[in-house]
């Protein structure tokens, strides 16, 4: 089998699929947007205080102990905050006013379970398992019908699950199946609603990635590069979600976070490079389910906490700023005597960003994306018009 025959088969299959099942939606489609949106989820509760450190807070050095050493010579963002020295690309973006940090941010979730916290972060509810679909999927229902989304993962993460079909892609080490088998599988799944839908997506995704599969996402930069290719393709996705893990730094936090943040930095750098001119229409959101304790624990790490830091990056971001209604790190200012107190809702950040980025009415977007949340006033000017 040659690559050419694979493409021919799949292209044929996919066009048939689109004509039959998406025809009705395409008839009503509005003008497609050029805007791109990438959600990088940090699974495991990333320590925002060790990413964008409030070095100007009088209590900072005392509370953070040895963790503060990393920021002794770190680049300052303003009078209060310094950026982790591993994040060189992102620091350059900040200088170019294309990176924005929002601190003391949290979802409505207030307990400390990763799994419940991630569910709230991804569904956009106020408690775990209250909503059955993800806010990123609901965003798709507000966008033109041909705006597609893709998850850079073997399976679709919660934020992208829901009524709109979404593709997933991760590089495969298996040899391609033969065209004839693929055609027969299509036929066999005709009568099975679930597998039929999944299979349509699988074959359509293959068409886009058949030439890209050699780029296997072995490291963060390659993953960022792969995502950029998915987003840059003519008929590609407008929205992508990338999963990262390894943020649960209960022990030995300094070394581990330095590596993690370097990887994140490389990923963002590769996205910027890969998107080229499209970067000016792009917003990348980085967020985690909750933060970590202010004090260092007994094993040079931190335990599960509450508020953390979110990042917005991209040419469309009105950056070069840190936005924070800073609650302070003194003991009396902490949430439940241990965590950074949240002063800004992650839902407000996401709702404000997406409504501005995609030209949606803020109230409409808020109601759709976070139906259970009593949303605060939208933040203005996060995104360039």
């Amino acid at each position: 089998m040659t690559a050419l025959s694979r493409r021919n088969f799949v292209a044929l299959g996919a066009s048939t699929v689109f004509a039959s099942s998406f025809g009705a939606r395409m008839a009503f489609a509005r003008a497609a947007t050029n805007r791109r949106f990438v959600f990088i989820i940090q699974r495991g509760a990333a320590d925002g205080l060790h990413t964008v450190a409030p070095v100007g807070d009088p209590a900072y050095a005392g509370q953070r102990g040895s963790l503060a050493e990393d920021f002794a010579t770190a680049p300052r963002l303003d009078d209060m905050f310094a950026l982790h020295p591993s994040m060189k690309n992102i620091h350059a973006l900040y200088g170019a006013k294309q990176a924005l940090f929002l601190h003391a941010v949290a979802s409505p979730y207030r307990d400390r379970s990763h799994f419940d916290g991630q569910n709230v972060l991804e569904t956009g509810g106020t408690s775990a398992y209250q909503l059955k679909d993800g806010w990123l999927n609901r965003l798709l229902t507000l966008l033109p019908a041909d705006d597609k989304a893709i998850a850079l993962a073997a399976t679709v993460p919660m934020a992208l699950r829901g009524a709109v079909e979404v593709a997933s892609y991760a590089p495969s080490g298996l040899p391609d199946a033969s065209d004839d088998l693929l055609a027969r599988v299509s036929q066999m799944y005709q009568g099975d609603a679930q597998l039929h839908g999944i299979w349509e997506q699988a074959t359509a995704t293959r068409m886009l990635t058949s030439d890209l599969a050699s780029d296997n996402g072995r490291n963060a930069a390659a993953t960022g590069d792969l995502a950029a290719k998915m987003l840059a393709a003519e008929n590609g996705s407008r929205i992508a979600m990338i999963e990262t893990g390894g943020w649960d730094t209960h022990a030995g936090q300094k070394g581990r976070l330095a590596g993690q943040l370097n990887g994140l930095d490389q990923m963002v750098g590769a996205l910027q490079k890969g998107l080229g001119p499209l970067w000016s229409d792009t917003v990348v959101l980085v967020a985690t389910e909750f933060g970590r304790t202010v004090k260092v624990n007994g094993t040079q790490g931190t335990d599960h906490g509450t508020a953390s830091c979110a990042m917005l990056m991209g040419g469309a971001v009105n950056g070069g700023r840190v936005i924070a209604d800073w609650p302070g790190l003194a003991d009396a200012a902490l949430y439940e005597n241990r965590d950074l107190k949240p002063t800004l809702g992650l839902d407000t950040v996401i709702g404000s960003t997406l409504s501005a980025h995609f030209g949606l009415m803020p109230q409409t977007a808020a109601r759709k994306l976070f139906p259970e949340v009593q949303m605060a006033r939208p933040l203005q000017d996060l995104v360039r018009g």
Partner: protein
């Protein structure tokens, strides 16, 4: 699905050639409780945790000596409190496969630069240690698969996999690569047909769990060790205590608070592992490397208040008493009942089934066979519509059983599971793998099964008639559409590939 097909596929792991569930499928299932072999040959021939630990201890010792010989400019020669390899080993081998398969997350280890003379030897030692641990891991993955493929008690083997996922560890750090499988073999299998409390006790004392969730390094702030080491590293780590309450017993959002977690973490101090892991920093623990030890001098003295009760006990007894209480707590019964119901009946566990299992658990004080019998007797588990989308592991094992696989290439199963997105003992989180269709029924995941099915079918060299196999595997339960697709295949091999990805085979 017919009852026979449900017994073979939903309760079991698919049928080997010639296997059937007999005249009474329920009896066939219940009979497996007594017939289960906790230590079959393939598993008995693997190295035990003590041997894995001894290899690790040797490596740490070699590293220590190398550091003494070559005190580098960046290192203090006298405080080897933390072996370098105790950092999460993210760069090579096992980890790469894991990352690639589950999440395209960044690999994040700065490139190693030779800093001083002698580092080459240290690097070599590290590589050798990784290779050794990886070899043990791959062998255990194969042993697990071979046992499942050849087992005459597939329902019991499915339960082993269920419990290993319930008490998930993830082979992401060097210490866990070789130890993860030994926990299933040493702490899960012996108790699968016993009391839940015994399994809980064995798991929470196993080196894999103690190292994975950082219990081995947790030190009571007022313990003798902390008093002596004032100002040096060491303190409370609540990771394991939290996950015991959240994941292993009571369940999230149930009856406990943050204060209960912290108090339980204090009670648990002293639970540690001899000879390996970062706990070596605490120094001088007697015992064979890798064995459980209770270290009095790490233990936080005093009475604890947990779940509204006072726990006065001394030393190891204190946490043991709390574990005993958790093991038969009504919240635990509900949590376990819900997970079993989700596994055997539906992604949305039916409430009457959960209530029935809960009652069986409570009235028998966590006697697992009693719970399994309630499961077998429950009509919700016998609903004719396929209830569950198979995980990659379930799909692979049932495929190999169907094909009559007898032997495995050393790395075959490990490689396959990485490619299908479910590397064995590497869920990446203590919550284990999700047990709902949403986690597995994705476009890329299904495409990979199709690719794998074609490759597996090609290896059978057209010797198996898929029409006949499908009829045996799905007695009175094969749809006309699938039967037709298989019958019209261009070759027996292609027919088999189609059978392996048919709607009937993707679900159970």
């Amino acid at each position: 699905m017919s009852d026979a097909s449900i017994a073979l596929n939903r309760f079991g792991l698919g049928a080997r050639p010639g296997e059937d569930a007999g005249n009474d499928p329920r009896k066939w299932l219940a009979g497996q409780i007594a017939a289960f072999d906790p230590r079959p040959q393939a598993i008995a021939s693997q190295i035990p945790s003590t041997q894995v630990a001894r290899n690790l201890a040797d490596f740490y010792e070699r590293q220590r000596l190398l550091r003494l010989e070559n005190p580098g400019p960046r290192r203090r020669a006298v405080s080897p409190a933390k072996p370098a390899a105790a950092q999460p080993a993210m760069a090579e081998g096992a980890m790469m496969q894991d990352m690639q398969a589950t999440q395209p997350a960044p690999t994040m280890q700065p490139a190693a630069k030779p800093l001083y003379q002698g580092e080459d030897a240290a690097m070599l030692a590290r590589r050798e240690a990784r290779r050794q641990q990886q070899q043990a891991y791959v062998g255990m993955v194969s042993a697990r698969a071979l046992t499942a493929i050849n087992s005459p008690t597939p329902f019991a083997e499915r339960l082993v996999h269920f419990w290993a996922n319930h008490f998930a560890v993830s082979a992401d750090k060097l210490e866990l690569v070789g130890l993860s499988g030994t926990m299933e073999f040493e702490a899960i299998r012996p108790h699968v047909m016993g009391k839940f409390g015994d399994m809980l006790n064995a798991v929470e004392r196993h080196p894999a769990m103690l190292l994975y969730l950082d219990q081995a390094v947790s030190i009571g702030p007022n313990s003798p060790a902390a008093q002596r080491q004032r100002g040096r590293r060491g303190g409370l780590n609540e990771n394991l205590a939290r996950e015991i309450m959240e994941l292993h017993t009571l369940g999230v959002r149930s009856v406990y608070t943050q204060a209960d977690v912290t108090e339980f973490a204090r009670a648990m101090t002293g639970f540690t592992v001899a000879g390996i892991g970062r706990a070596r920093g605490a120094g001088g623990l007697d015992g064979e490397p890798g064995s459980f030890v209770f270290a009095d001098r790490l233990h936080e003295p005093g009475t604890r208040t947990i779940l509204g009760k006072q726990w006065a006990g001394q030393g190891e007894e204190q946490a043991a008493a709390v574990l005993g209480h958790l093991a038969t707590h009504p919240a635990t019964a509900k949590h376990i009942a819900t997970k079993l119901a989700r596994h055997f009946a539906s992604d949305d566990p039916p409430a009457p089934l959960v209530a029935r299992l809960e009652k069986a658990f409570l009235s028998s004080k966590g006697d697992l066979p009693t719970v399994y019998r309630a499961l077998i007797a429950s009509p919700e588990c016998w609903a004719p519509k396929p209830a569950k989308f198979k995980s990659p592991w379930e799909w692979s094992i049932s495929a190999m059983r169907t094909l009559g696989t007898q032997q495995l290439q050393p790395n075959a199963v490990n490689g396959l599971m990485g490619q299908l997105g479910q590397p064995v003992w590497k869920p990446g989180s203590p919550a284990g793998w999700d047990d709902v269709a949403g986690a597995w029924a994705g476009p890329d995941a299904v495409m990979r099964r199709v690719e794998a099915a074609e490759r597996m079918a090609q290896r059978t060299k057209n010797l198996i008639d898929a029409r006949q196999r499908a009829a045996e595997l799905f007695p009175d339960a094969l749809s006309p559409a699938t039967a037709q697709s298989i019958a019209r295949a261009e070759s027996p091999g292609q027919g088999l590939a189609l059978m392996l990805v048919s709607p009937e085979f993707m679900r159970r």
